[in-house]
């Protein structure tokens, strides 16, 4: 018996193929239309395409830079300076946001009514005001409301706040510092191996090793020993008012301060909510069960509570960190030379708008794709192994 012949429009497989060809065709045609228009327009306006402009001299100054840069450097180098500034503000922002957000999140759950309500108000207010407005506000405070360098505020000795930014006293450069950093890194690596060894030993023999205390004392203690061995240099490089500005020490520009402060306050409100939800996600019974087994409070936290709440916390937390990085692009509005700001200047000078916007998108896509790659790796590692 022969199977009945199905007309092709009733066969789901063939229909799917036709549908996909149609969709891709429409998208392709649209793309073709837009691209051909663009090419015609570019030709008409006599704009050369391509990334050749990256090697040309930029002829604009950048206020702050981590690497050497001058107006004689190329556009490519200017963009690298911008990217490094983006990384700088994001990195500082992420570290402080994690600290502040965790504190606020824990405070939200505090048994202390006052502390809990205050952090609730903080979270609600910060979340409900656009980040850009917050940046403008802080920039106005730094730029308009703080006094000139001559009348700089000095809340703590060695710190000066004025409308040119915040100047800190920093330890004067000394050869000891290099060795201290090296020893610090070595201590971190060492702690990692101690942790592995301790875990193996515990699996074999059941004996516990005070990993946390040992690693902390290594990480803090070893650089301290080096510092003492070099004769404990304590000389500080204190900023001094000379002329109209501070010289010496470390000065953070008002743009950087406003951007960092705005990003930190805005994002830490979201991080606090994430942390609160993560802590609440671990049921009370878990803690009670662990205590009933006779575990010490520190072990209850380390072995039972944290592993479970981190599983809930980490994914939304990474997306908040990514948001902070993306929001740092608003630096362009207050004049901090981040990547978007430098790219914008480049676009205005060279007219290479397509390449400029493409570079902005590419940089942020790299950030977000690498973050999501990390997330996938973490999720696979931390996923619940169910029966």
């Amino acid at each position: 018996m022969q199977a009945e012949k199905v007309p092709f429009w009733l066969d789901p497989k063939k229909r799917a193929v036709i549908f996909q060809i149609a969709v891709l065709g429409i998208v392709g045609l649209l793309a073709y239309y837009l691209i051909s228009n663009t090419i015609i327009n570019l030709k008409r306006q006599a704009i050369a395409t391509g990334f050749g402009f990256l090697d040309k001299e930029s002829s604009f100054e950048i206020g702050e830079s981590l690497i050497s840069y001058s107006a004689a450097s190329s556009y490519g180098r200017a963009l690298i300076v911008g990217a490094l500034n983006t990384l700088k503000v994001s990195f500082a922002g992420i570290v402080i946001t994690l600290l502040l957000g965790t504190i606020v999140g824990v405070a939200r759950l505090s048994g202390n009514w006052l502390v809990s309500k205050l952090s609730g108000i903080f979270i609600e207010v910060m979340q409900d005001i656009p980040i850009l407005l917050q940046l403008f506000f802080w920039y106005a405070i730094f730029y308009e409301s703080l006094p000139s360098p001559r009348q700089a505020l000095s809340p703590i000795k060695g710190i000066f706040m004025c409308n040119r930014g915040i100047a800190f006293a920093v330890p004067e450069a000394h050869p000891a510092h290099k060795y201290m950093v090296l020893v610090f890194l070595a201590a971190c690596v060492l702690s990692y191996f101690i942790r592995r060894w301790a875990r193996r030993r515990q699996e074999k023999t059941g004996r516990l090793f005070p990993t946390f205390r040992v690693s902390i004392s290594l990480i803090i203690g070893l650089p301290l020993v080096v510092w003492l061995a070099f004769g404990a240099p304590v000389k500080m490089n204190v900023p001094k008012l000379t002329g109209f500005n501070f010289v010496g020490g470390l000065t953070l520009s008002p743009e950087f301060c406003a951007l960092l402060l705005g990003l930190i306050l805005y994002t830490s409100a979201f991080v606090a909510e994430v942390v609160r939800a993560g802590i609440q996600a671990v049921s009370r019974g878990q803690k009670e069960a662990a205590m009933a087994l006779g575990l010490k409070p520190s072990l209850v936290l380390n072995l039972v509570i944290l592993p479970q709440s981190l599983r809930v916390i980490i994914p939304p937390l990474t997306s908040q960190m990514l948001n902070l990085t993306k929001n740092s692009s608003l630096a362009v509005a207050i004049g901090f030379p981040d990547f978007v700001s430098v790219a914008n200047t480049t676009i205005n000078q060279t007219g290479q708008s397509i390449e400029g916007v493409a570079l902005i998108m590419a940089l942020y896509l790299i950030f977000s794709l690498s973050t999501s790659a990390f997330m996938n790796w973490y999720n696979k590692r931390a996923a619940l192994v169910e029966r």
Partner: protein, 354 residues
């Protein structure tokens, strides 16, 4: 027998909530001290020493806040360049919008007629803003500015992005590799880049996409960028809703002989979209906040009108006051929406548990 006086009333509450344990007592005292240091000077600045109805010059010597920067310029901050005599029109349009939002808040009104009410409302708002009919003088969209523009960008942005987001979410869950690949690429690309890059694109590159002689005005271009951006986020939210629908629902629909469109329209989407209403409200909140970014491509939204007042030499230096006022407006909008979202979440989850 009555409980001891230290366990009830005000003393009992203070003892139980502020001074239960050494650490909490220290925390409470430290917090109270901090509040004592911060709040009274702030109140003094904002209310007691403040100036309310003066010129900018009279403000300069005042020790407190200069709220005159708001009271004297409030109509420009809110309505921008909209013709002065016709500013009642955007005002009525905003009132219509608030009325619509208030009406839709009640779940009893979530029926088919709500769609028609919204279409009629949006049409009325458009007519009021644009004019040209019923004896209303036409107003160029280049003059739309201030709060109406902010609301317009966010409300139309979300309304137009929603259907696109649902289509993208369905595309992402499709079994056809071509469609799925396309949707995933779009969603991940858009979610990976900051909104500002899309706005730059709309401002600088978009004109290049169009054939010679065709131009689209700046507001519409920014609106398109916001729609494309929001759609990707809505798609992810809707995908969450789709994933929460059990496989049995699909199978049941299939065994009833429903085709894909019937299954989606009658069985899956009504359930999935109901689940995702609270996160959708969060997206509306972010869209409302995100519209402030159009300031960077020089659209005259609420933030830009405020800045232009501050650029006036008479009012220079009163930025904190002006920004606090704008922050208050945004806060009022976002706070009411997030409060509503929480209420809705409670109501819906209560419905699930029955």
């Amino acid at each position: 027998m009555k409980p001891p006086v230290t366990h009830v009333g005000v003393i009992g509450w203070v003892k139980g909530n502020l001074f239960n344990g050494t650490l909490n007592s220290i925390l409470s005292i430290a917090t109270l001290y901090l509040l004592w240091k911060v709040v009274p000077p702030l109140i003094r600045w904002a209310f007691i020493d403040s100036v309310w109805h003066t010129t900018g010059k009279a403000c300069k010597p005042a020790a407190g806040a200069c709220w005159s920067v708001i009271t004297e310029n409030v109509r420009f901050i809110i309505f921008g360049f909209y013709p002065y005599d016709s500013q009642w029109r955007p005002l009525v349009a905003m009132l219509v919008l608030f009325g619509l939002l208030f009406y839709s808040q009640n779940r009893k009104h979530w029926k088919k007629h709500l769609v028609y009410v919204w279409i009629a409302g949006l049409f009325t708002m458009g007519l009021l803003m644009k004019g040209g009919l019923f004896g209303l003088s036409p107003v160029e969209s280049t003059k739309w500015s201030g709060l109406p523009l902010t609301l317009l960008l966010s409300v139309f942005g979300l309304t137009a992005a929603y259907p696109l987001g649902v289509i993208l979410a369905l595309g992402r869950r499709s079994k056809m590799p071509g469609v799925k690949w396309l949707s995933v690429t779009y969603i991940e690309m858009i979610r990976g880049v900051p909104l500002i890059s899309l706005l730059f694109m709309s401002a600088i590159i978009f004109p290049l996409f169009l054939p010679e002689g065709v131009t689209i005005n700046k507001i519409l271009r920014a609106q398109i960028a916001i729609i494309l951006f929001t759609a990707a986020y809505i798609a992810e939210v809707v995908r969450g809703g789709l994933q929460a629908i059990s496989l049995g629902q699909y199978e049941a629909a299939e065994s009833m002989g429903l085709n894909f469109y019937q299954t989606m329209r009658l069985i899956i989407l009504p359930q999935a979209l109901k689940i995702v209403i609270p996160p959708t409200v969060s997206i509306l909140i972010s869209a409302f906040k995100d519209t402030s970014l159009v300031v960077i491509i020089a659209l005259w939204d609420l933030l830009k009108t405020t800045q232009s007042v501050l650029a006036n030499p008479e009012w220079m230096g009163f930025s904190p006051e002006a920004y606090l006022f704008v922050a208050l407006l945004y806060f009022a909008g976002c706070f009411s929406m997030s409060g509503y979202s929480r209420k809705l979440e409670r109501e819906l989850s209560a419905g699930e548990q029955q």
